[in-house]
Amino acid sequence: MTWLIARRLAIFVASLAAASLAVFALLTLVGDPARSVLGIHATPEALQITRQRMGLDRPVWEQYWSWAWSALHGDLGTSYITHFGIAEQVGRRLLVTIYLVLGGMVTALIIAIPAGTLAAVQHRKITGTVVTALSQLGIAVPAFLAGIVLIALVSVKWGVLPAGGYVAPSADALGFVKRMLLPWLSLGLVQGAVLARYVRSALLDEVNADYIRTARSKGLTRTGAIVRHGLRNASIPVLTVLGVQLVTVLIGAVVVERVFALPGIGSFLVDSVARQDRLAVQGIVMIIVALSLAVSFVVDIAYVMIDPRLRRAR
């Protein structure tokens, strides 16, 4: 078990290092940050001074090392465009995105587990077919479209909930929930539809397993056996999908943030690209990559926790 975690951890660290190199290299090879600060008619002298000030006259390896080393210590530098600390900005924006994604995933699970279970239990009956068909519909609808429709109906037509914007939960908890409900729902509906299908098929795989028969022979109903024993076993493939989806949702949240005017990491990335703020883009991409790697790491560990059999495996 310890060895297994250590191995996963090593993979995590190695991927992180490789990713940081890739991110740095990609962005260093493109364009001249000094020019993007000074504009197209900058004089060569001004460019030279700015390059020095930005440390661009140093060898590339040194630049990489100082950036990566500071990043490790939580310092992503100060933007030459906005003069704000990047880590501080990323932190605040990321929090919004994390609220959005986690809330969306919880909503997805709240929808997917009952719907998927129902579809599995009622398999080959009309209810099951209807649930399956509905989830197919959900998969076909992109989250931002769900968002636009929800805004048009719930906010504009009925005037029940705000059309987006963000307030910090510390400032106004009720306002926070009110403003996040629609974004959560639009992410959750779509992701829930996808997850429901995985829950259903994973459960169906377990229905004919020996332990279900045993449970039934001990007096449980079929539904009872599936819910009490099947769900836990079915959760492993579902968890894998959840991990993969979490990363997709994190990146897909960019569009949802835009529709709901949420100041998350996605809109920060778009803004930073627009203002050619290379250092900020570098920091944001690195954080997103690190987060994605961390999610897969945690999912890997979670398998082991859920399934004792994996603890012995190599």
Binding site: H41, F84, G164, G165
Partner: protein, 522 residues
């Protein structure tokens, strides 16, 4: 015209901004609307008493967030739009007819040779940190533009050779040569008066003499201005004005519909106005901007170097029909460079009436029947909307037009820098850009050459005001006669607001979005 090359950078920037924001990014100081369609009763401060200072908050929706608060090192329109007039003030301010009015200076005198300006400052003016404004601060601000500003607009201050502050209220500025533009430029961002004690952290802290101060800002998409209770002038009615920046125009619309904001300061395209038009809860404000949408003709590119071909193109176009189809009729058809709010504007909209026969005749004279031209499009909404109808109108006159779609970066490289184009459509959004866009020398992408135009512009800038205006009016007429371009329409400033909001800056003519006359009724 030493500053010409740097001015051109500005225009590029203005254009760039126009691409992003559909070209109505900055708003002006209480200008009485010149457009016949505008709601003039709501606009100006001078004709209606602003109600007393209350505790209300108003939220404005905008599309282009500032990178920081420092326009001394960061170019673009977003920062002056937020700060100029509201937080930083200038010695002179621009009024509705384009004339200059007293600002921080209550009066000024110009020496007979036009090179020395003596300003008398208002007394009792303080910065929002409580320190008094003196002529020494004004001197510092002007010198600081020359010494520390890195943005290209700072070049406008190069003409200043000496600044003296003989007393606390007296400021004497000496120019190297007479200039009718310099004083006007002093009403733009370079004229902002700053405190010598607060220039170390301009990116995050803006301390001026204006009616509002900036609340601490975290770099996010919301910036709040709060009334400066020590303001030397009339206190604004609204206590907090919140600037909310949206990436998505639809999100901004929804924010207005659901009450998160009270005003959309920039409507990206008139199509979005439909949902507000029939709704009594909202008012639509139609004003003007400095922008003129122009089909630029490459004057150096044969056969477009033949004036008859350029005139034929102008005769072939039905500009009313173009405006109607492309921009729902919002705006004013124009016939030469500059817009109706400019002091040297001459109405030449009828110079080339729609006349296909005349167009064909001119083309025949020039030996250019069966002409094929390229039309470069950079993806702006107004250009994309106008292109199809222009193509079909030119086809009626026997000119085949091939459209070339490109990104704005490509447009900058190919059309603007390399001048490899026949026709293109662009909104020239910068105020008073006549001498830049048509200098009479081929130093701009229009490639327009006319020594007479150069002479009139150079002499006009150095002459007394009346001669200056007369010379520039002559230039405007010559440009129309030469068909130096096909001017289409003066770009409108379209806003939507809650029905009870008053005091909105209707016309977007200056660099600031003045919020200090806002109030709500009822």
């Amino acid at each position: 015209m030493k500053a010409r090359s740097t001015q051109s950078v500005l225009v590029v920037f203005a254009l760039a901004v126009a691409m992003i924001t559909a070209a109505c990014s900055s708003s002006g100081n209480d200008v009485t609307p010149a457009s016949p369609t505008s709601g003039s009763t709501d606009s100006a401060s001078s004709d209606s008493g602003t109600p007393p200072a209350g505790d209300a908050t108003l939220s404005l929706g905008l599309v282009l967030p500032p990178d920081n608060l420092d326009f001394t090192t960061t170019s673009g329109v977003a920062i002056p739009q937020l700060l100029l007039g509201n937080v930083y003030e200038t010695l002179v301010v621009q009024a509705d007819d384009g004339s200059l009015q007293p600002g921080l200076a209550k009066k000024w005198d110009v020496s007979d040779d036009g090179t020395q300006y003596t300003f008398t400052l208002n007394e009792g003016v303080t910065f929002s940190d409580g320190s008094p404004l003196t002529a020494a601060d004004a001197k510092f601000s002007i010198d600081y533009v020359k010494s520390d500003w890195t943005v290209n607009v700072a070049d406008e201050m190069k003409i200043v050779t000496d600044v003296q502050a003989p007393s606390d209220t007296e400021l004497v500025v000496t120019l190297s040569e007479p200039s009718n533009m310099w004083l006007f430029k002093m009403s733009t961002r370079i004229g902002a008066i700053m405190s010598p004690n607060h220039v170390d952290n301009l990116a995050k802290e803006a301390i001026g003499t204006g009616p509002y101060t900036v609340d601490p800002w975290d770099g996010g998409d919301v910036i709040t201005l709060t009334r400066n209770d020590n303001y030397w002038g009339d206190a604004p009615a609204i206590k907090h004005v919140v600037f909310r920046y949206y990436e998505d125009a639809a999100a901004m619309n929804n924010a207005l519909l659901t009450g998160d904001i009270n005003v959309i300061t920039t409507v990206p395209s008139p199509q979005t106005l439909q949902q507000f038009e029939s709704n009594d809860a909202y008012q639509i404000i139609k004003g003007t901007t400095n922008g003129n949408v122009m089909m630029t003709i490459n004057n150096a590119q044969p056969p477009l170097d033949d004036v008859r071909v350029r005139q034929a193109i102008n005769y072939a176009l039905d500009k009313e029909a173009i405006l109607k189809a492309a921009w729902a009729g919002y705006g004013t058809v124009i016939g030469s460079h500059e817009v109706p709010t400019d002091p040297w504007f001459v109405d030449l909209a009828d110079r080339y009436p729609h006349d296909v026969t005349q167009a064909k005749e001119l083309l025949a004279q020039a030996g250019q029947e069966g002409l094929t031209l390229r039309l470069a499009l950079s993806g702006t909404p107004y250009a994309s909307a106008a292109a199809p109808i222009i193509v079909s109108q030119l086809a009626e006159a026997g000119i085949t037009v091939v459209t070339e779609d490109m990104t704005f970066d490509n447009w900058l490289a190919k059309v603007y820098t390399d001048r490899d184009y026949d026709l293109t459509i662009i909104n020239h959004a910068e105020q008073y850009d006549l001498t830049t866009v048509f200098s009479g020398e081929p130093d701009y992408y229009t490639n327009y050459t006319n020594p007479e135009v150069t002479r009139l512009e150079t002499e006009g800038l150095a002459a007394d005001y009346d001669t200056f205006i007369a010379d520039f009016q002559k230039v405007v007429e010559i440009l129309a006669d030469d068909a130096a371009a096909a001017w289409l329409w003066a770009f409108p400033n379209l806003m939507v607001a809650d029905a009870n909001v008053r005091g909105l800056p209707v016309n977007a003519v200056g660099e600031s979005l003045a919020v200090y006359h806002l109030y709500t009724e009822g």
